[in-house]
Amino acid sequence: MIFIVYWAVLQLYFRSKMIKIKGTLTTVESPPRVKIDTTFRQNKLTYSNYWFLIHMAIIVAIAIISILNYNALPNVIPMKYDFQGNVTSSVPKTYLSVLAINLVQLGIIVLMMLVNWSIKTSKQQLTPSNPAQFAAEHIRFRRKWSLFTIITALLLTILFAFIQINMFVPNLVLLTGVSFIIPVLIVLGAVWLSLTARQGGGKIRNHQEDGERSKEQPVNDDDYWKLGFIYFNANDPSFIVEKRYGIGWTMNFARPLSWYLLLFILAMVGISIVLSQ
């Protein structure tokens, strides 16, 4: 919470500073241009959502195993452990409480499929200079993040599968190990991706001399970025756009679909909180 406030203050402070600096800059003669590669959408931008069938298969298999071994379970299922391995909360055995994990897994996969789909459909944003080369890098950037999404979903599926199997064959050491390693792997992967692939797919460092750099400037869309980070453009039919800075994508909040999506994600979080209690 403190972090969010800190981030917001920092972002607003530097935004106002940038706006001042931008106002003093001389404008370049060449008009801002939008450049679009007509062959862009013919490329494979992401990995197919069919890859999630593997995840689904794991979930279904674990669910079937759980149902078959339902009678072997104790009448009270431990849900949480403290660091000494003592049970801190538990629930009575019902089909819902046994299969709750599978529902959460399914929710995660639907969410990840949505993420993968939005990487694919998000708006094409090319640099004014050297658009053809940039397009190639941009496609690589999208595919990397798509692959990361699929692998993350798979790791999470495996993590939950371990938790569920732990109900039948308790092995606390293994479970603790897995539930430590998998989140670490995911975070490291995200950090590594963010450091190697700049947002949009360009090079992190620009080695060109000042003279070689393009004098062309991108289209000024400052007005559509409310507070600098919320995209609101009613004229733009695309609703997934790349974030202006940072990592990832954001939504065009002028489109009602993005509000539904936001509600859906909040509902998913809410449902998993309710289920875990």
Binding site: P31, K35, I36, D37, R41, Q124, A132, V219, D236, S238
Partner: protein, 131 residues
């Protein structure tokens, strides 16, 4: 092909789109039968209304430069380009007249004007991306 649009130009976006696509075909950057982005994708990528792209595609379709297939989507007309018709020649003369009139007013000779015409002709054929 890379389409370049000037978002602040007096020329409307749909006209720019029409001109750019015809230029792309003229320069060979767009091959006969080559697929073009769907209306929805192109509008989203440029960040303009669907109607803008639709209008451009409708004009191109009426003139015979592109075809809109139900399954294959939008493609550059694979059967070749529309032929020189009387209608087209009349339209071309109509459009050239004010340009030539202006050139005469500003004291351009016939030769100078022809030189400009020849240069632009070569330029379009070369294509702006090839350099």
């Amino acid at each position: 092909m890379i389409i370049q649009l000037d978002m602040q130009s007096e020329l409307p976006i749909y006209s720019q789109l029409v001109y750019q696509i015809i230029e792309g075909i003229a320069s060979g950057e767009l091959q006969l039968g080559e697929a073009l982005p769907s209306v929805r994708n192109l509008a989203a990528d440029i960040g303009v209304n669907l109607h803008t792209v639709n209008k451009a595609y409708t004009i191109l379709k009426q003139d015979g430069y592109i075809l809109v297939h139900r399954q294959k989507g939008v493609v550059v007309n694979p059967d070749g380009m529309p032929k020189l018709t009387d209608d087209f020649l009349n339209k071309q003369q109509r459009e050239l007249r004010p340009i030539i009139a202006e050139a005469i007013c500003r004291g351009m000779s016939k030769e100078e004007l022809s030189a400009v015409l020849a240069q632009v002709y070569d330029d379009v054929k070369m294509g702006h991306n090839k350099e």
